[in-house]
Subunit: 367 residues, 2 copies
């Protein structure tokens, strides 16, 4: 079964195709979307993904009349740098990419962010195609946020650059390690929590299928997750207001990532703990208790951490949060649930409350 | 007298203000255009311009309630690098620039391109204000093309990022060295040659006033030059077709710049020789002889070179041109005048003709 979803952004609208084995038909999607076969393409991927899918993609495109060069970058966040951008532009020049060429991201969020920024910058912007190979990337493949890091700040150098289309081949997810499956589901559940109570209930009931990578369940979950994000982004492409709700769980989550040791907490895991914190905050503001109990249950069922490991230092977490751009004197901006599937943006959350909640997260019964 | 010109680009439209002493009133222009006084600004300038105008601008903005940090980069093309971008983002972070901040370019084309790209990239795009201090910058201050260089190619990493407004203070031009005055007039005349025969006649008659920096003549010339460019850019912001006519003289010109020794030919000088070449090509295609004679006369009157110094190697010039992206097998794309004030885009100019014309440029009577 192939699902198709349209991200509505006026003349920058684009479709997301989700289905099994779509990569076997890659070149026809490129042709259908008017990617020029006369101009060379550049596929950017990482050393984890390349051995699995790169050759097949290059061959498929080649059989379809496309000329595809490729660049393989080291896996991980450190590849999102200006140095890497310069190297990839060298590659693009050497491969003869012109203004009608497209840059293709084959991989997870890091590859998407990096390749997208190359596409946004090369010759002041060329076409961009996303082929995500992780569940987590369903989030970054919608909305056109692309960026590299600066030594002092993540994602601070970037652009809004929408792809021509997104090709989500569910088969590429079968090789994901279990921890990456759960981590990806964290953002899927988040999309339910901010927008769609019914979808949260569905995740709650189908978590086991998702963890076992059942293709039908996975296709539906990605379709729904991408759909929520597409809805939000359509209404606020440049994050002037509404788009901020996508940050549910991210203020605490980012601080935990900053404080955690290397590889101790993945992004999805940190966000999961952050969403538990947001749920607690919601209840404190008067939301029904089920906002907390359901949030906790669904995340646990998805194999995600819902408590803060005891060795985390609350002061360090708070201090990391204070450096977050969402902070202002004595209060903080938080995305706060009011019910399952509903959130509001609160700009005056007392810092004291946040500290108390971070402390509570440590005191929860540890598994 | 203050002239105002609107660059029509839908929701990205912006005005250009041209007049004497406008910098004395800088903060009111910032306020009028909704630049936030709560968020710090970053002024980017170079070491040649800073001693003349930076302190006054900072003080004026400060008196108007704005908080302005500044960064001074070395003068010259080598500042348009990714390394410089990284350093300027460090500066922006240290100064606390947020998403409502503006980046201000105070200087010529290099500073405008660099600061514009910082503005396009920082936090995925913040506001941008241009304060050009050269005549040549009238060209780059219209149209939103911003970029840095890559070791293998100029302007290859960039964006389209339109400013909020352009503040052209004619007083800042009084300190320009004579060679930069003439060089800047080259692009002014180009704008006449592609669009406006009457304005070419005016330049021909008023060249002496322009060279002596007569404020009224200069204000009019910049108003007309910016006006032509604004017209072209309004019809084709992303250079899909019409915008290419702005490249009159640039194919030969860029090749001359590439071959010339350091500081031997400035951009405007190289373009001047290139436009003579284009005029010759036009006549060869059947344009009236005056296309050549008038083009040559007006450029000479503006103090620009119109012949190729004898020591230039024709093979080297041709080879540099072949690396230009406008080249395709055996033929080249050229902007060719059909009359004074009218050009067409020819995509099948024989390379042999171009070579003959480059040879002729050397054989012209040398001054």
């Amino acid at each position: 079964m192939m699902r198709e979803l349209k991200v509505e952004l006026g003349e920058r609208s684009y479709p997301i195709y989700i289905g099994e084995g779509l990569l076997n038909d890659a070149s026809s999607y490129f042709a259908k979307h008017g990617i020029s076969a006369k101009s060379p393409l550049l596929i950017i991927t990482d050393e984890h993904v390349a051995p699995h899918y790169l050759d097949a993609l290059v061959q498929n495109l080649s059989a379809g009349g496309f000329q595809a060069a490729s660049a393989v970058v080291p896996a991980g966040e450190s590849s999102k740098s200006l140095q890497m951008l310069e190297g990839l532009v060298t590659k693009a020049l050497e491969a003869g990419l012109d203004r009608k060429s497209a840059i293709v991201a084959l991989g997870g969020g890091v590859v998407g962010d990096l390749a997208g920024y190359v596409a946004a910058s090369y010759m002041r912007g060329v076409k961009f195609v996303q082929i995500p190979t992780t569940i987590l990337a369903h989030d970054s493949s919608v909305g056109g946020k692309v960026a590299v890091n600066h030594p002092l700040a993540k994602n601070i150098i970037g652009a809004f650059h929408q792809p021509e289309f997104v090709l989500y081949d569910l088969k590429t997810l079968q090789s994901l390690p279990p921890r990456d499956v759960a981590g990806g589901l964290s953002e899927v559940v988040k999309h339910g929590l901010i927008w769609d109570a019914e979808f949260v209930a569905w995740c709650d009931a189908n978590a086991a299928k998702l963890l076992s990578l059942d293709p039908e369940a996975l296709g539906y979950a990605l379709y729904k997750g991408c759909g929520v994000k597409a809805n939000v982004v359509s209404q606020d492409e440049k994050e002037n207001s509404l788009r901020a709700i996508l940050n549910l769980g991210h203020t605490i989550g980012h601080a935990l990532e900053a404080v955690a040791g290397y590889n101790e907490l993945q992004h999805g895991e940190a966000i999961s703990i952050g969403m538990i914190g947001s749920a607690k905050l919601g209840v404190r503001y008067g939301a029904p208790q089920e906002v907390y109990t359901v949030t906790k249950r669904v995340l646990e069922r998805c194999g995600l951490p819902v408590v803060l490991p005891r060795h985390f230092d609350v002061d360090a977490v708070m201090s990391a949060m204070m450096h977050d751009k969402k902070f202002a004197e004595g209060t903080m901006v938080f995305i706060v649930p009011t019910a399952i599937g509903k959130v509001e943006i609160k700009s005056d959350v007392p810092v004291d409350w946040v500290r108390e909640i971070v402390e509570e997260l440590k005191l929860e019964v540890q598994r």
